[in-house]
Amino acid sequence: MSGQSDAMPSDITAGSATRDPYVLGHPSGAGKKGSGDQLATGHGEGGPASKFVTVTYGFWIFLLSDIIMFSGFFASYAVLANATNGGPTGKQLFDLTRVAIQTGLLLTSTFTAGLASLALERRSVIGTQAWLLVTGVLGALFLLLEGQEFITMIGDDAGPARSAFLSAFFALVGCHGLHVGLGILWLGTMMAQLWVKGFRADILRRLHCFSLFWHALDIIWVAIFSLVYLLGASQ
């Protein structure tokens, strides 16, 4: 049997690596015991994971714990959304035009962050820096609109102290805004590090973690604009 499969590849191996990228068909070592598993990924057979994988995986765990922290804010908002204490409701306060612009800005910035990581893969300094800059500017515009919204609301006697609903609203949306602000700071330091140190392995790891962070922020914003703004304004 082993000789036969060496000479005549099975149907699975016919498409080569492009059709079987994970080498699940074990084409090369069909007769030799265990040799096929060495190429199959995710089994720990290829030795310990590289530093790029372990660092990024650690950051992935951090992002998930961050999202769990946000779920606490979401839960308190969901519970307190109707506790307006006779004060203004979301329907009266939320300006959906601004929210639509904010959503467009953040979605576009997550797209340009993706373009920056594509330029990073090509090792293009100019492309990476330019797309990172666009990402940061879009994020800053987003923050500007959010700050404008908060100032308007506080000026209209709808600050976080007005009702439990507004406390929960400012805590949730403000926490996301804080994350965006910290992300912009991180982005600036990454641009400076890339400028000075070039495409070093540690810089590549940090940039990859940053792009994960930025995509995760947009995922949280999806939940905020749907379940806070749109739901609040439609009720």
Partner: protein, 156 residues
């Protein structure tokens, strides 16, 4: 690579994928620039659909919340696949399992809070009118709770 671990990385597993990395998905539609464009387009479409669902009378009002939740989940899925490059491949098993655990905790926290607090809201008796009157008569923070129910002049 000038990193000090570069030499030891040579002996390491080169077939594993970091979260968000798209080395193996290169032959799939979600890879490269077309993948990002596709994700951007789908996410924009779902965003517009969410705004339409909430702003127009297209959807029966009590069902708007379901529509918004479904559209948000769909968009989160688009982000995970096209921007974070999650796949069902074996090299992504660890990332998927960590994500699944995070989703479990998020669901427990959010749905559990809404469920429990909804029941508390239904089952706790409303405040009696005289209790409410006390709360509004006394200046903030001067109510003596122990005697508040019985005596009208319960302010400090």
């Amino acid at each position: 690579m000038t990193d000090d671990t570069a030499s030891s990385d040579a002996s390491r597993d080169t077939h594993d994928t970091a979260p968000g990395e798209e080395t193996i998905a290169r032959n799939e539609p979600a890879a490269g620039l077309p993948g990002y464009l596709l994700g951007y387009g789908l996410a924009s479409l779902l965003t517009v659909a969410s705004f339409i669902a909430a702003r127009t009378g297209l959807i029966y009002q009590p069902a708007v919340i379901s529509a918004l939740v479904v559209l948000a989940l769909a968009q989160i899925g688009v982000h995970l696949v096209f921007f974070l490059h999650l796949t069902s491949g074996p090299d992504n098993t660890n990332n998927i399992l960590a994500l699944a655990f995070g989703v479990l905790i998020v669901a427990l926290v959010v749905l559990g809070s809404v469920w429990i607090m909804g029941h508390l809201d239904q089952n706790m008796p409303r405040m009696k009118p005289q209790q409410l009157a006390l709360l509004t008569l006394c200046p903030a923070g001067t109510l003596r709770l122990a005697s508040a129910v019985n005596r009208p002049a319960a302010c400090r």
